[in-house]
Symmetry: C2
Subunit: 208 residues, 2 copies
DNA sequence: GTCTATACATCGATAGAC
DNA sequence: GTCTATCGATGTATAGAC
């Protein structure tokens, strides 16, 4: 009876197909955007038939919705892991510099994340609930964590901690957007150290 | 011979057709994005035949390229007109507050501009030269004008004027993006006055 | 559950009349 | 220059066999 039971590891089954489809969908949607992505190519990238894609996710919008929410939740863990990372009990200016450096370095290198941001913003008019998923899972936790940090350091003498957080994050995120996403690196170059030093200096020496 | 020469004002001629096509293209591209916009609907929105669209702009990419560059140049004039607008010879903190208020108010109300930003960022991976056109025509002039202003006010004691400009603009633009484009208004609300006061306070009282 | 085959609509682009 | 009519390719989605 040897050889009767065929071992088929080459193709994923049931539950695993859904994951393969999501992987293929990620590859295609992030590379070509929502409208320019075809379900044929998603199926091919996932190694399944087109009918299987539809049986798992209903239609193209359903697949896209599921994918974006999964990606947002995956990144959420990365953000939360950042909460206890660098030595929180040190000089605030040094801590903020390290944090800013980390954010910029990550935004520069992670092409997948860049394309994720592109599609979130690009489709935010037609898929508002996906934009809100991004805000809830990524922007809001980031704002809350940093606000808590600022409030635990009254020696900074900040009159409005949450507004200061918006200054901090807005400065860094727009910098990444302009230099990397919009290819402003060559047109309006600016060393990240200059931005980081100026930003942290403004926040840490704003005595009244 | 009365009535022999028909007056046809109902349909635009030659040169004017190009403008009508660009108007229709603006309507469609900004509403549905690049890939989801069909040349049939552009032609219908412009009130011309599809063949006329192709004879004027070559193909879909050519029309899109032309449209985006025209929109970027149109907005450029608005930015430059802003250069001599509010009384430049007054208290810097008051000037910066007025400028910030103006930018936020404009970003909030101008839906066309919001969709323009959405498509610029969303297509910046596939149309990098259009992203650069935006940077050259809008971001760069804005940065340069504000940098000149900061340099003309040495009493602010800013160690790095251009980096400070990035903090100022980044804070405001990311605020508009998060609250309006990404629909964060309800999820992470923040009054614009709080942001503006904090931002201008940080910049104008950052003595060493 | 998963496949192949296909229905039906719409796409970008062009030919040819006027 | 502008139109109508149309081509071939490709899109989403589904039927029916296994």
């Amino acid at each position: 009876m040897i050889g009767t039971e065929t071992i088929n590891l080459e193709r994923p089954k049931s539950k695993e197909k859904a994951e393969a489809i999501l992987e293929g969908a990620m590859q295609e949607f992030l590379a070509h955007g929502y409208a320019a992505t075809s379900m044929d190519r998603v199926a091919k990238a996932a190694g399944v038939s087109k009918a299987t894609v539809y049986s798992h996710f209903g239609d193209k919008e359903g697949l896209f919705n599921t994918l974006i929410k999964v990606l947002a939740e995956d990144k959420f863990k990365t953000v939360m892991a950042l909460q206890e990372s660098p030595s929180l009990e040190q000089d605030p200016q040094l801590f903020l510099q390290q944090l800013a450096n980390q954010l910029i370095e990550n935004g520069r290198s992670d092409r997948t994340f860049q394309n994720f941001i592109r599609i979130i913003i690009g489709e935010s008019g037609r898929f508002p609930e996906l934009a809100k998923a991004y805000v809830n899972n990524l922007a809001k936790p980031g704002i809350e964590i940093l606000t808590k940090y600022f409030k635990s350091h009254p020696e900074l003498n900040l009159p409005d901690e949450e507004a200061t957080v918006r200054v901090f994050l807005g400065t860094l995120i727009y910098y990444i957007m302009l230099q990397e996403l919009l290819h402003g690196k060559d047109v309006v170059p600016l060393e990240s150290d200059r931005l980081i030093n100026t930003l942290t200096h403004l926040i840490t020496v704003a005595k009244d």
